[in-house]
Symmetry: C2
Subunit: 339 residues, 2 copies
């Protein structure tokens, strides 16, 4: 089946290409009679516009690009879900690229997307992103950029994120109010912003309740906040601090590693040691005991970031002045059996 073009329709009908184009687009200066003939013929020949030509002409691709650290992660896959659904609803397609937490890949992918002439870009920054020239390049091309989850305050663009420090603060305050006093923290690397922020929240909660901060109660996750990190650190923790009474873990996955070790060692949760995670991954309701954690909106984050992006895209097309929005999505502490 050959692909039908405007030319084909025009030839069949013996009229000009421009009339066909106008008829198809519902321009008022086409007689009803010819419009009907065109519509009929278009349907008969199964016409669909060649988007490549449309793109070239209109300089729009109706496509947005997304760069995330990884797709294989419950949080990001839900964000992606939200992005794709919202974009499609508005007639946009989504190209996804992964940075694998590497700055050079993030830069490379920005260039790929720019070359591809996407209408807008969504990025969750990699942990190793410390410079922002590639992001400024996007702005200089007058293409909207919205940062989500891992944002950079110094970049002039919209963003959607949570308040990691506040969320962590609330979780630790919960533990303190429940009577736990010797609270360990399992954190991620030193350069990941959310690891830093959650650590800050942890420290502030202690300080506000006059519990001395003990650096030896803070453990780093050696791998990539794997559940094995939780398992290994829990082992170490119990050895070094047998009297610990709570663990605040950077992610649910790490917390689940902790729970596994405690279960094996018959360490009662929360009677002997309480455990709190972060993210409200669905597994936190499956594990025994169920895990207290922080609900972090993922699907909604994708939807909202996309909404903002598409609004800015339309705004630019209408030559409107666009004002950036920096949105902080609410988190909520969820108390379950583990605390």
């Amino acid at each position: 089946m050959e692909i039908t073009t405007l030319k084909d329709i025009a030839q069949q009908l013996g009229i000009s290409i421009s009339t066909v184009s106008k008829a198809l687009k519902g321009y008022p200066d086409v007689s009803k009679a010819t419009r009907d003939r065109v519509l009929l013929m278009a349907r008969k020949l199964n016409y669909t516009p060649n988007q490549l030509a449309v793109n070239l002409r209109t300089k729009q691709t109706k496509t947005i690009g997304v760069i995330i650290p990884t797709t294989v992660h419950h949080f990001f896959s839900k964000v992606i879900d939200g992005i794709i659904e919202e974009a499609e609803k508005k007639g946009y397609l989504v190209i996804i690229l992964q940075s694998n937490e590497k700055l050079f890949l993030e830069k490379l992918h920005v260039n790929l997307l720019l070359d591809k002439r996407v209408d807008g870009i969504l990025i969750s920054l990699s942990n190793t992103t410390t410079e922002y020239v590639h992001l400024k390049k996007i702005a200089s091309r007058n293409i909207p950029l919205v940062l989500f989850d891992k944002v950079a305050p110094s970049v002039a663009c919209s963003s959607v994120a949570i308040d990691d420090k506040k969320a962590a603060y609330e979780a630790v305050v919960h533990l303190i109010e429940k009577g736990y006093k010797k609270i360990a923290h399992f954190r991620a690397g030193l350069n990941a912003q959310n690891s830093i922020d959650r650590f800050e929240g942890y420290k502030k909660a202690l300080k506000d309740h006059t519990i001395p901060f003990d650096p030896s109660l803070v453990y780093m996750c050696a791998n990539n906040t794997d559940f094995e990190d939780g398992y290994a650190n829990a082992q170490l923790l119990i050895k070094e601090h047998p009297d610990v009474d709570a663990v605040f873990s950077i992610t649910d996955l790490v917390a689940i590693g902790v729970i596994k070790y405690f279960n094996e060692q018959k360490i009662q949760i929360p009677a002997q040691v309480a455990v709190v995670g972060f993210s409200n991954w669905f597994m936190s309701t499956v594990i025994s005991p169920t895990l207290s954690t922080i609900e972090q909106p993922s699907y909604d984050m994708g939807v909202i970031a996309t909404e903002i992006l598409l609004n800015e895209i339309e705004g630019i097309q209408k030559k409107e002045v666009i004002t950036h929005q920096n949105i902080i999505l609410p988190t909520t502490f969820i108390e379950r059996e583990s605390s």
Copy 2:
């Protein structure tokens, strides 16, 4: 910063556009002197080709489309990972769309991708896909299509999948050889092909070992093979068949629901009842007891499906005759504590 075109370079240098184009593409019929000047100016003006124009001219988009039931699933997110990595390695970008297991969305998305003029399409069919005209439309446009995971034998295209029946057969044989005799099966809906195939494998294993097939030992997952299905069915199973000694579950997630219920009820795994899952989700090594399951290649499936697709794309461009490949990827049974 204005975007540089060939015209800009040509004007700066006082030469023609076509010479610039040829110089940039390394054509031999351009003098070294002018080539160098062009390259220098291109770099200076930060030239990158407008892909939209290139696409229109060459009728290639260097983009492939992917339609999957959902991104929020450990299996599919790993497949996507494989697809994106392999595609990018060969210079292709990936557009992802979700069918949510709905035929009408699958059809709609095929049309979107066709309109977008992607160079090739990858699909994991929805459970409700019972007709294939939309797939044939792809072929009639002479665009390569590769089916993966959920395939349709009657469609003339390449495919990459596993042998669900064989994999299930081996898992159940394992249980039988371990001495389990009253083996229940928790399956998914009646129209999902992999549910049917795994069920067939289960029945065949029983038959080959002269264990009578008892339909009352087969339970359907009411939700979408959620872990709650496993939990609820386990409850029902123990009530209806207190003497059951093993459960073969359609997915790891369902199996984990089963394990949760058994743990709560202090039903010993595997002493009283053994449990086997399917997929080798990483959680199967985290749960207690660790779950015996079937390793199902996911990342590799994405990579291989993409390799085949890109080969067919290049083949078509070279006007080669393309032969479809129907690949069955090996699975392996993994014995852990639960059986």
